[in-house]
Symmetry: C2
Subunit: 269 residues, 2 copies
């Protein structure tokens, strides 16, 4: 039986550089599917078009319009194919509407000077942290396991009198378990709840406008992680005039930085 | 007399959505012009195409190939024009080669809940910090004033035995002074020297592959800053297998977060 994440990313090649997929109902959010699967589907199209020894190093996805149920098409265009670095431009369309644009950088990585300046925070192992009960929640939330070490969002009847910290630290994993790869890592970069909810205590209309992921873990390093939970450390700098940011690190179980990500979220009121 | 930065961004409208400019010799770097002017020229083309009440909120620039001396063309395509948020895709070409791709998000921003969670570090005023002597350095370096509070790069004859901190804090300003706007702010996001130089102590072949800027300061807030120096706080998480990252905050003189930015830099050896 295939994993729902792989089903969600099923793409068929149509014409040269055009891939067709279906908006994944198993990952449905309030309006349209979870943005993480959209990001992963775009990245998958780039990798299908460049299926030699390159791996993803960067991805920016701009969420232009919500996907609706049904088919979409991804167009892949290679802007520049250098010897070791490739630049790819992507566009996801549905019924003539551009739902997302993206750019991806793929590279053939080689051994060089190596130094991880940042350190994973000291946290309890995932087995020691209870998983949030997501039964009956939105479909996409049921596709993940959330084990909050700090900063679990608890919606309040009224906004907090003074804004609270935007920080959360949590172990996150696919449900059911799935071996980590760059596609699931891209999706994991978007699992953090909108920081403005966290800071205000209440839900407001909000949505990710743009997300950037830098992949630091190589294919081999991601394979070492297997299906173990990834540690997410997320925070925000500011919320002002309809937009708030988010910045996060994703760590392997053994302290290797797998990805860093930042996004800008639109919110109302 | 016009400012060299404005000269560098001079664009003429050619056909619908096509703008022509010249690679700016006044901002020349080792190979091609400074990436900050490339980012600003792309953003300027997006703003010329959307000249109503929208302002930039996000920009991602992918550096595909170095610009050479001479003319370039920027193609602007609007992927999605919502009521308050616009998504723009850009491409810079020179003699049939794509030098850069970019995506920009522009928005009509309104008053909302506002909260700046991050705080500017406590540093001496710019007048109290000596400016680096850039006379005779590369042209682009002479277009900026650098006042290092911490972490000034001093190239060593040999790499450090153990990697040093990637952190720098510095006041930065255009030379000659120029009132801050989103264009110069975008360029300022790229003035930080490649972090791998800082960490290793020596120069190696390196270049920015992709840069993302989130603009938190509005047009009115940037105007308040005038031509005063901006505080840059820059660091990196990791360097591994040809790529290192960079993350930075740009602060107004009075402690307002104007922009956050992250980039991925390719390096050799």
């Amino acid at each position: 039986m295939s994993h729902p994440f792989d089903d969600a990313l099923a793409l068929s090649r149509d014409a040269e550089g055009v891939y067709r997929g279906l908006a994944p109902q198993a990952y449905w959010n309030m309006v349209g599917p979870f943005g993480g699967t959209t990001a992963a589907a775009l990245l998958r199209a780039a990798l299908l078009e460049h299926d030699d020894a390159v791996e993803p190093v960067a991805l920016t996805v701009n969420y232009c319009a919500p996907l609706v149920q049904g088919a979409y098409a991804i167009t892949v265009r290679t802007a520049r194919a250098g010897r070791s670095v490739r630049h790819v431009s992507l566009e996801m369309q549905q019924e003539g509407v551009i739902a997302a644009t993206a750019t991806a950088v793929l590279a053939a990585r080689r051994d060089t000077f190596s130094h991880q300046a940042a350190q994973m925070p000291d946290v309890p192992a995932p087995e020691q942290v209870p998983a949030s009960n997501v039964r009956g929640w939105l479909p996409w939330l049921q596709r993940y396991e959330f084990r909050f070490v700090r900063g679990e969002m608890r919606p309040q009847p009224q906004p907090y009198d003074t804004p609270r910290s935007a920080h959360s630290t949590l172990w996150i994993a696919d449900t059911p378990p799935r071996a980590l790869d760059h596609l699931s890592l891209a999706a994991l970069c978007d699992v953090f709840f909108v920081r403005v909810f966290q800071v205000r205590g209440t839900l407001v209309p909000a949505g990710t406008v743009t997300m950037t992921v830098h992949f630091h873990g190589t294919t081999a390093e991601l394979a070492e992680q297997g299906s173990a939970p990834v540690l997410g450390v997320v925070d925000a700098h500011t919320f002002t005039r309809n937009f708030g940011d988010q910045i996060a690190q994703l760590w392997s179980r053994n302290g290797r930085l797998l990805a860093t990500t930042t996004q800008l979220t639109w919110f109302k009121e």
